[in-house]
Amino acid sequence: MAARKHATAEEMAMAQKEISVSEFFAKNRHLLGFDNPRKALLTTIKEAVDNSLDACEEAGILPEILVEIDQLEEDRFRVVVQDNGPGIVKAQIPNIFGKLLYGSKFHSRRQSRGQQGIGISAAGLYGQMTTGKGPRIESRVKRGKAHRYEIQMDFTKNKPLITQDEELDDWHQSHGTRFEVTLEASYQRGLRSVDDYIKQTAVSNPHTSIRYKPPGEEEPRFYERAIRDVPDRAAEIKPHPYGVELGELMKMLRDTSSRWLSGFLQEEFCRIGPKVAKEIIATAKLGERSYPTRIARDEADRLYRAIQKTKISAPPTTCLSPIGEDRIREGLMKECDADFYSVSTRPPSVYRGNPFQIEVGIAWGKPGDDRLEVDDKGRIHKTKKKRGATDTEDLLGNADEPVRVLRFANRVPLLFQQSSCCFTKSVIQTSWKNYGMSQSRGAMPVGSAVIFIHMASVWVPFTSEAKEAIAPYPEILKEVRLALQEAGRKLGVHIRKGKRVTNEFQKRSYIEKYLPHVGIGLQEILGLDDEDREETVERLRESMETTRKI
């Protein structure tokens, strides 16, 4: 049998060529969250809304978002996401929406929703690949004219082709952007649906008003804002020394314009002053006046180790924009009608030199259950629960179901891969029995509760580009646990009080049940009339209830 012909290096070289990002995406779209039609719809909307919110906040505008989904054919949908943001300068529109890995946020150490500059163009690309139609963008900047672009993307060159370019004389908003794409998708309600995403976004962004029109509905649903101020814009920061790896450190040394090592450390990093710089350099046995560009591989290694050994204060937290306890409470109250809310914002902390901050909110209460209220006189009343938002059930489960965990990274809801997420692990590791909830070993707590967990950070360590789960760094796990414990303690006090009231109510029901018989007995013995009997029973009830404490 003839031996199989093997390829030569030259032959192989003929097949070796650059892979465009767009091509890569076309083959690996699951990495960006477009694995199936249902998820594609969600990811598209999510990316567009993230961008809109980032833009509005950066411009200090109270966001007003419109999301529309129309079903064109069985598996074909048109998605419109519109904001009242600052708009996009005409020249940038094709690149932003038509080029992968084009964006403003990748290089900045600033807290924002988007990070890589892939999302929105990937959405456009997906639409184009599944329907042949590229995205249509309309945008208007203040005091400018609105423009409409239709874009086709060149897969191989990762470049946008403009298929339509139109100036619009009359646009319905003074500024803002409207993104429209047609894509192959499927729409479903329930957990991890677009509906779910919109609702959770409304929870984590109580300053945003959202109009959302799902397919098949005439009027948009309105998620009104609860707070009228835009969150503070997070400051941009330099990297913290602890967060820089050796390779990156070497690159920074090579690229710096500083002429002295001491200057380099102080210029390029945050939290390094002359004193700390001196200490690091002494530990590394280097000269303060060494040229950064001339530092060799082993010297850089010494410098790296010296940085790890030196005590450096935590990065500034001005770069973080936590939602804040009040806003989390507002957001939860707005979208999730519960009996009790408990929130807790941790002080900022650091993982790998990246500042982050954890916030937790718990909404607790049984939807649809009657509640017991204690009035000023110490009487307990059973009141029918007021019904809140029509789709409350979406968030709060029944008392015998596991609690629902709502995960957010920089205010963006994370809907997928719950079980591999650091937040979920922390919830499971927390001992909820201490706070009055039941929990089996190694499982979620059980109860009618929603646990809201938010991580604000300049760089959120997602486990994948689809931004679905957060990597379990020990520092993050710990902070989440501490925040859960804080909120849990407050909740525990409430639950225990609730149990006391329930208990007391049962006891008083007992009184209600038997006290009339005391009346009957007295009536039969003393020959009282009915009125006298009723009065005696009422007196006894008052005496018994006022002597009971709750």
């Binding site: 006891k507 009184i511 009339p516 007995g521």
Partner: protein
């Protein structure tokens, strides 16, 4: 035959003279002519308790009811008084969430009592339990619950000197059996006509003590009352007409005497001035439960012992010494663990035995011997040994009976 005790002191003079002409004695019903008043006392007491609850309620307070604690720790014994008296510890029940059910049930049972007193009807404990089934939420789940409440009510009213019988709650079980030289004068509940029962004319049967006895009158020519633990011994003595030979009244208790039996014997003993001799098994149960309860009452009915005991009763036998004197040592059984516990408990906690040095040494003797003997053990020497030898010999020395 076993050795006999020297009997040279007063025994000759005290020897019974059965052929002496019978002396007729009689006693009427306990308080038949004042039964109207008794009824009124019961009604007034019920009303008084209810009225206090009503007044407290309308004054904005939490009503309380008081009753004596019913246990051995709340009794004291004084030989001069002769029965267990209540030490006076009261239990107060205040209306609150934990007591509201019992409170309601107590008042409703009191209402039932009021109705029964007024109508001269009665209810057994079981019937009272069934009456509650018509009370809706306040009904009793089990008879045990209603019995407890009834006991509480009895305790409450004992403070007012009103008995359970006067509240018209009667026990399920009837009293013991009676034969001998006694005529019981009862009355027809419907016609109120007197009915005379001659306990000497019961053939091979016996007169049965009813559950309430205070309305009975008695006539007798007997010399003493012999109270017997077991039905077997009672039958033997009745069959051989021992009551005729010894001119006595025989009462069968059948274990621990019921309240009616105790009251019956007490009324005969007191009203007819007859001595009462107890004849029970020689074991801790016979002594510490049956005899003790007959003579001084029990801890759990401390509030009514005054009426339901026979302080003049004495213990004829079988004593531990009798086992030796009458050669019964090979007709005994070893004491069981529960017997030993009961005996030791009596020595340690029972105020009656603690006040009686002779009893203490008798019980200690029994514990030391480690055996018990039944009344019927005398059959070892012949079926009628007990009639021919034991009883006459013992009855010659009634002074030596244990107190």
């Amino acid at each position: 035959m076993a050795a006999r005790k020297p009997t040279d002191k007063t025994s000759a003079a005290k020897a019974p003279a059965p052929r002496r002409a019978p002396r007729q004695r009689s006693v009427g019903a306990h308080v038949p002519e004042t039964s109207k008043d008794l009824k009124q006392v019961a009604l007034d007491s019920i009303r008084e308790v209810a009225l206090r609850v009503h007044q407290t309620a309308n004054a904005g307070g939490l009503p309380q009811i008081q009753m004596p604690q019913r246990n051995l720790a709340n009794v004291k014994f004084d030989k001069k008084i002769g029965y267990f008296e209540m030490a006076g510890n009261l239990k107060t029940r205040t209306l609150d969430v934990n007591s509201v059910k019992t409170f309601a049930q107590t008042l409703r049972l009191m209402a039932l009592a009021k109705e029964m007193v007024a109508d001269e009807d009665f209810a057994t404990k079981r019937e009272a339990y069934y009456v509650s089934k018509n009370w809706g939420d306040a009904k009793f789940g089990e008879q045990r619950e209603s019995d407890t409440v009834l006991d509480d009510i009895e305790g409450m009213f004992s403070i007012h000197d009103v008995t359970r019988e006067e509240l018209r709650f009667v026990p399920e079980e009837h009293g013991g059996s009676v034969v001998g030289a006694l005529t019981v004068i009862d009355r027809d509940p419907e016609t109120h006509e007197p009915i005379r029962s001659d306990c000497a004319a019961m053939g091979s049967g016996a007169y049965t003590i009813p559950s309430t006895v205070d309305h009975l009158g008695f006539e007798t020519s007997a010399e003493f009352v012999l109270v017997i633990e077991t039905g077997g011994m009672f039958q033997r003595l009745n069959h051989h007409r021992y009551w005729r030979t010894a001119n006595c009244i025989l009462v069968e208790m059948g274990g621990v005497p019921t309240r009616a039996t105790r009251r019956f014997v007490r009324r005969i003993a007191e009203g007819l001035k007859l001595p009462v001799y107890a004849f029970v098994d020689c074991d801790p149960y016979g002594i510490c439960n049956i005899y003790r309860t007959l003579k001084v009452g029990s801890g759990s009915s401390a509030h009514v012992n005054r009426l339901f005991c026979v302080p003049t009763a004495t213990f004829m036998g079988v004593t531990p010494q009798d086992i030796i004197d009458f050669g019964l040592d090979d007709a005994t059984h070893p004491l069981l663990q529960v017997d030993v516990k009961r005996a030791k408990d009596a020595l340690k906690n029972d105020p009656f035995f603690q006040a009686q040095p002779r009893w203490k040494s008798a019980i200690k003797q029994m514990l030391k011997m480690g055996v018990r003997a039944e009344q019927q053990a005398f059959a070892k020497w012949g079926l009628n040994f007990v009639i021919e030898e034991y009883l006459p010999k013992k009855l010659r020395e009634t002074k030596s009976f244990l107190p």
